[in-house]
């Protein structure tokens, strides 16, 4: 007898508040990583193209190290280290150590990827702009801040956003440390109710809706810039 699977979606409506909470964690990790990643990534990019050799070398080592190791290992590493560091700073187990570890891991990991995008963006600004800024009497820092970075960020906005979409998907890997983000919550609810099949498909659908819409927006931006 060949019977097909009987779907039962009834456990999803009741679990929506829990899933919503999980989604908030997912957004929290994503947004923190975008903000910290871009700021720290910009500093890394500037360090890498700076005239100072040791600074450039240190930044390059950081970026290459993070880009060579799987994200799963990075998350596991941070889950090992961050609780110890938190403890030595605050003395008490005050924070949610999983969330704290995930936030640090993603922020520092994404910075490595963002810094490569930003470096390329900075290098795409014509040299003449720099010379012109210097001729106008701007200092190096002013040139960076007022002339180069604004143009660079405009050029690389689509790439930065695409990276953000990848990041949003990658946050699901906090599963390896048991943090209840959107995916972790969906898995737990599915496990609890014995309806893993439905919950996994549902999670996939939600991720698809978010990422597909976001990527359509990015595409529209790209087209507008291309004109």
């Amino acid at each position: 007898m060949s019977e097909l699977y009987e779907f039962d979606w009834s456990s999803i409506p009741g679990a929506l508040p829990l899933l919503g909470k999980g989604l908030l964690i997912t957004f929290e990790v994503t947004l923190t990583a975008i903000v910290v990643g871009i700021v720290w990534g910009t500093l890394l990019a500037i360090a890498r193209i700076s005239a100072s050799k040791p600074l450039g070398f240190a930044a390059a080592t950081y970026v290459n190290l993070f880009r060579s190791v799987p994200l799963v290992m990075v998350i596991l590493w941070f889950y090992l280290i961050v609780p110890q560091v938190l403890k030595s700073i605050f003395g008490e187990g005050i924070a949610d150590i999983r969330l704290a570890s995930a936030l640090c891991a993603f922020a520092l990991f994404e910075a490595a990827y963002y810094s490569e995008i930003i470096r390329a963006g900075i290098q795409s600004v014509p040299r003449g702009q720099v010379s012109a800024a210097y001729a106008l009497g701007l200092t190096h820092a002013q040139t960076m801040r007022l002339v180069i970075l604004p143009q660079a960020f405009r050029n690389m906005l689509p790439l930065l956003l695409t990276q953000a979409i990848i990041l949003f998907q990658d946050t699901s890997l906090v599963y390896v440390i048991g943090l209840s983000d959107f995916f972790g919550t969906a898995y737990k609810v599915g496990d609890r109710d014995g309806r893993l099949v439905e919950l996994l498909l549902f999670a996939g659908l939600i991720y698809f809706i978010f990422c597909f819409s976001a990527s359509q927006i990015v595409r529209r931006l790209q087209r507008r810039y291309a004109q």
């Binding site: 007898m1 060949s2 019977e3 097909l4 699977y5 190290l65 060579s68 190791v69 799987p70 994200l71 799963v72 290992m73 596991l76 590493w77 090992l80 979409i165 998907q169 990658d170 699901s172 890997l173 599963y175 390896v176 995916f183 898995y187 893993l196 099949v197 996994l200 498909l201 999670a203 996939g204 991720y207 698809f208 990422c211 597909f212 990527s215």
Partner: protein, 246 residues
């Protein structure tokens, strides 16, 4: 709390008595490499096929290609893996699903991870292939057709050989990614490198040694792949293109 380093832990036997802990790590390394390479074969073939489909003058085929890419690029790899491993066997007709689930568990995990990783990366490869083909001057295709080649022949003998040589750098980075992404297979229990790292932590309570050893192994994989791909790149350079002839 002072940490007690103990690097000799790798030489001691595991409680199961089947190997040393170092032996476990090498088993993990083998699985990581085998998984990545076999998934890469799938990614290259599927990616090329769909990349080509998206450039042919047929709306149905192009739509098929686009659908594949959009689905596989917009769902997280972890979710895709769980769907392959946990969901699909349940959705298959009962006998087929059961037959799969009676296989050796390692084989099940390996197959699910290989197909998942292969199709996931394939979607990215197909984007590169498409942009490689689109970057070729239109004249190449027209010239090939004018010479009497059929469309498949034009792809086979003129456009694809050029396109592939142009997209080797982005393909290299996808190839590196597949090794890193293979670590996701840890979540379904495949004993690849990062799973072995966690297992060592469970068994020895020496997390730093285990993590450092595994991280170094990933770095070595990275360096090796980059070295090999650099040679491929040099050999495949197209004269007249940026980074082409000296």
């Amino acid at each position: 709390m002072a940490y007690n380093w103990n690097w000799s832990i790798f030489l001691s036997d595991t409680p199961a008595g089947d190997a040393t802990y170092l032996g476990w790590l090498f088993t993990g390394l083998q699985w990581t490499v085998t998984l990545s390479l076999s998934a890469w074969l799938i990614a290259l073939s599927v990616g090329s096929l769909f990349g080509v489909l998206r450039t042919v003058p047929n709306r149905g085929l192009a739509l098929l290609g686009t659908t594949y890419v959009e689905i596989f690029r917009n769902v997280p790899l972890l979710v895709q893996l769980f769907i392959w491993y946990f969901v699909l066997p349940e959705l298959l007709p009962r006998e087929l699903g059961d037959a799969f689930k009676q296989l050796n568990p390692l084989l099940q995990q390996f197959l699910a991870a290989m197909v998942c990783l292969g199709l996931f990366t394939g979607a990215r490869v197909s984007e590169q292939v498409r942009s490689g083909i689109n970057s070729l001057p239109r004249g190449q295709k027209n010239a090939a057709l004018a010479l009497g080649l059929t469309l498949p022949q034009a792809y086979r003998y003129v456009m694809l050989p050029m396109a592939f040589r142009i997209i080797i750098p982005p393909l290299t980075s996808e190839f590196l990614n597949i090794f890193k992404n293979s670590a996701v297979a840890t979540t379904i229990g495949l004993i690849e490198l990062s799973r072995q790292a966690q297992q060592l932590v469970d068994y020895t309570a020496q997390p730093y040694e285990a993590f450092i050893a595994v991280t170094v192994m990933y770095l070595l994989i990275n360096v090796t792949v980059m070295f090999l791909m650099r040679r491929v790149e040099v050999n495949a350079r197209v004269p007249g293109y940026i980074g082409g002839s000296r």
